[in-house]
């Protein structure tokens, strides 16, 4: 099986990366342009948009915000990004940075040049329409296993997460890594208590030390705030679902990364440079994590959930796996795969792992996920210092 020929079909990018979608992204670099971005995407088949609350402030988190926008604009699932700007120096800096990441030239539409919101929308609509036609005319070509950059995510976890969906996803992740793909585990809060197990799997002892340090750094930052995190973690939904402590949640969450060795540790929104299994330092916040993944080249995500959550990304297809049949068979318009069959006793971990693996291939090759059908294009900027200047 390890020499299996890849059945994947994707869009090759000039810099060697691969996309599994060919989106036109409408990216507003100022909150006041968010509505315009949504309107443009709604009127352009093949286009997606995001919105956010940032007004171009040089806040303490500016570096993180700038890296996120630049990386997001250059995600390999994007054919071209149309950036809407006011026309400021700060925006110009982000665009310069984005150009380095972007596989195809970015298109910028400035409000100051357009002269009015109406003209900005008209101009961007015209450009997005032309680009969408070009994108639609491109064909998929056979892609190697190494084209996959898989994001591993869980949200709304319950006590079944660690015994059904997460280890089944681990089976799929392990197989992809074995075939030469990249897989990224994240959510520092959700490996706290399990980091020693992950560190022990590091290919290089330095990577193991980094995993331990990322968690220690996180723990210090929370202790520094002097806050008791009980009440937030495990969340109320987690507790109702049967999870009692953060460590218990983490031991279950870490199972998404299977048993493969760890190749490296990534800072938030940083891109992996070689295939393998990585850990990325992100908040447990589902959308901040997904946004960080998008900025880091992730081109497909599997998201396990115990309580059921509809969220997704404008640029990354996100496959939802239910941890239990009670939810998985009810919330069918947001769940792609039910792994509750494992605790029901009707399927094994390996069988569901294979189903997830096959679904990754099917979705990569163009099948739309429930979150894509529902146009769940959530986007959040991750801030370490709050949002009040």
């Amino acid at each position: 099986m390890s020499n299996s020929t890849s059945p994947l079909l994707g869009y090759p990018r000039p810099d060697g990366r691969w996309g599994f979608r060919n989106h036109i992204l409408i990216l507003p670099l100022h909150q006041a342009l968010s509505t315009a971005a949504r309107d443009i995407a709604d009127a352009t088949p093949g286009a997606v948009a995001i919105s956010h609350d940032w007004s171009g402030e040089i806040e303490k988190d500016f570096e993180r915000i700038s890296k996120t926008f630049a990386g997001f604009a250059g995600n390999p699932n994007i054919f071209t990004t149309v950036v809407l700007t006011i026309g400021t120096e700060v925006e110009a800096g982000i665009i310069e940075r984005a150009k380095k990441f972007s596989p195809t030239p970015l298109v910028e539409v400035k409000l100051s040049d357009a002269g009015s919101m109406f003209k900005l929308v008209t101009s961007a609509l015209e450009k997005a329409g032309e680009l969408a036609e070009k994108a639609a005319a491109e064909s998929r070509v056979p892609a190697p296993w190494s084209s996959v950059v898989l994001g591993l995510e869980c949200g709304g976890s319950d006590a079944y997460s660690g015994i059904t969906a997460n280890p089944a996803l681990g089976v799929a992740s392990d197989r992809l890594v074995e075939f030469g793909a990249t897989s990224i585990l994240a959510e520092t809060m959700e490996i706290l208590g399990a980091e020693h197990l992950l560190a022990a799997r590091a290919l290089d002892p330095k990577v193991g030390a980094q995993i331990i340090e990322v968690v220690a750094r996180y723990e210090r930052s929370i202790n520094y705030e002097g806050i008791d995190i009980r009440g937030a973690q495990p969340s109320r939904g987690n507790i109702e679902g049967g999870l009692s402590t953060l460590e218990e949640k983490s031991l279950g969450a870490a199972k998404k990364a299977g048993n493969a060795p760890f190749t490296g540790v990534l800072e938030y929104a940083d891109r992996p440079t070689a295939p393998g299994l990585y850990f990325m330092d992100t908040p447990g916040h589902d959308i901040e994590q997904l946004t960080g993944f998008a900025a880091a080249d992730v081109n497909i995500t599997v998201f396990t959930t115990g309580r059921g959550t509809p969220t997704g990304s404008a640029v990354i297809p996100t496959i939802k796996v239910a941890t239990n049949s009670e939810m998985g068979l009810v919330l069918t318009d947001l769940i792609d795969i039910n792994a509750g069959t494992i605790s029901d006793g009707t399927q094994t971990l390996e069988e569901v792992g294979q189903i997830i693996f096959d679904e990754i291939v099917r979705v990569a090759n163009g099948h739309l996920t429930k979150a894509e059908h529902g146009k769940h294009h959530e986007f959040n900027l991750s801030r370490l210092y709050g949002s009040t200047l």
Partner: protein, 272 residues
């Protein structure tokens, strides 16, 4: 001579509103897309945000308080809270706190309403039921509280004098930070209308629920997009007050027409 007056709505528990909005309030980021679909179906107002989960410390009550302030704002006639179910900011508890202060508030939860489509259908029906028709009545200008948002140096005295002369109350915010932050602070102070003087390098912006009158500066950016401003930089205090009164009396501002402007929810602690 008759006293100038405005036609406004008496929103029980919320105050005298110059708009009659229905707010579809997502209690967590995970319900923002569903909230937007409901709002589109019923003509309500909503906004995307990233809060309600993975919050700790002062933000837990701070974000609750902010959402309560939004839901009990005078320009709001009714509120539908949409939750996911497993988040920190629980929709039902938030709704209880809102209903203690106001009328016409209801909530529903995606995880208990059959998922996305079920919630959109149930939510749209619930929102229509909630949307009581209020008649508007004439009120004196004394009922108006205007927020003055200063993100640049402006000689503001003439406007204050003119407002006082007309009997219009006001709140000024001029501390550090941009318009988005100031708008949120003014919303919490229940102003029904905002007049904004954005920084010369910032575009005009809006705030869902509250009409914002944007006044241009003579900066190159503002001059390049002067048509996006409700008032030009030469506008006199008398013209500003006339615009305030006509806006209070239902003339839509440009940001209202464009439906532009997101809501910046104040946040003090990092995401976890």
């Amino acid at each position: 001579m008759s006293l100038p007056e405005i036609w406004a709505f008496k929103h029980e528990g919320r105050g005298i509103g110059i708009r009659h909005h229905q707010l579809i309030l997502p209690s967590v980021v995970c319900s923002t897309v569903v909230s937007r679909r409901i709002a589109q179906e019923v003509g309500g107002i909503t906004f995307a945000h990233q809060h309600g989960c993975a919050i700790i410390g002062v933000d837990v009550s701070g974000i609750d308080d902010f959402f309560i302030a939004l839901a009990s704002h005078p320009n709001v006639g009714s509120v539908l809270v949409v939750g996911l179910g497993c988040e920190t900011t629980q929709g039902n508890e938030l709704t209880e706190k809102i209903t203690k202060l106001t009328k016409s508030t209801e909530y529903l939860v995606i995880q208990e309403s059959g998922g996305v489509e079920g919630t959109v259908a149930t939510g749209a029906a619930a929102a229509r039921e909630l949307a009581i028709t209020y008649s508007h009545f004439p009120y004196p200008l004394e009922e108006l509280v205007v927020g003055i948002e200063l993100s640049r140096d402006v000689e503001i005295e003439p406007l204050l004098t003119e407002l006082t002369h007309e009997g219009i109350k006001y709140v000024i915010i001029s501390e550090a930070g941009g318009s988005a932050k100031h708008f949120s602070m003014l919303m919490s102070q229940k102003v029904q209308l905002i007049i904004s003087f954005p920084d010369g390098n910032q575009p005009p912006s809006g705030f869902p629920l509250i009409p914002v009158i944007n006044v241009a500066s003579d900066s190159p950016l503002h001059q390049a997009i002067s048509g996006e401003f409700d008032l030009q930089f030469e506008a006199t205090a008398k013209e500003m007050v006339a615009k305030i009164i006509s806006t209070a009396d239902h003339t839509k501002t440009i940001s209202e027409q464009n439906q532009s402007g997101e809501i910046l929810v104040p946040r003090l602690v990092r995401s976890v």
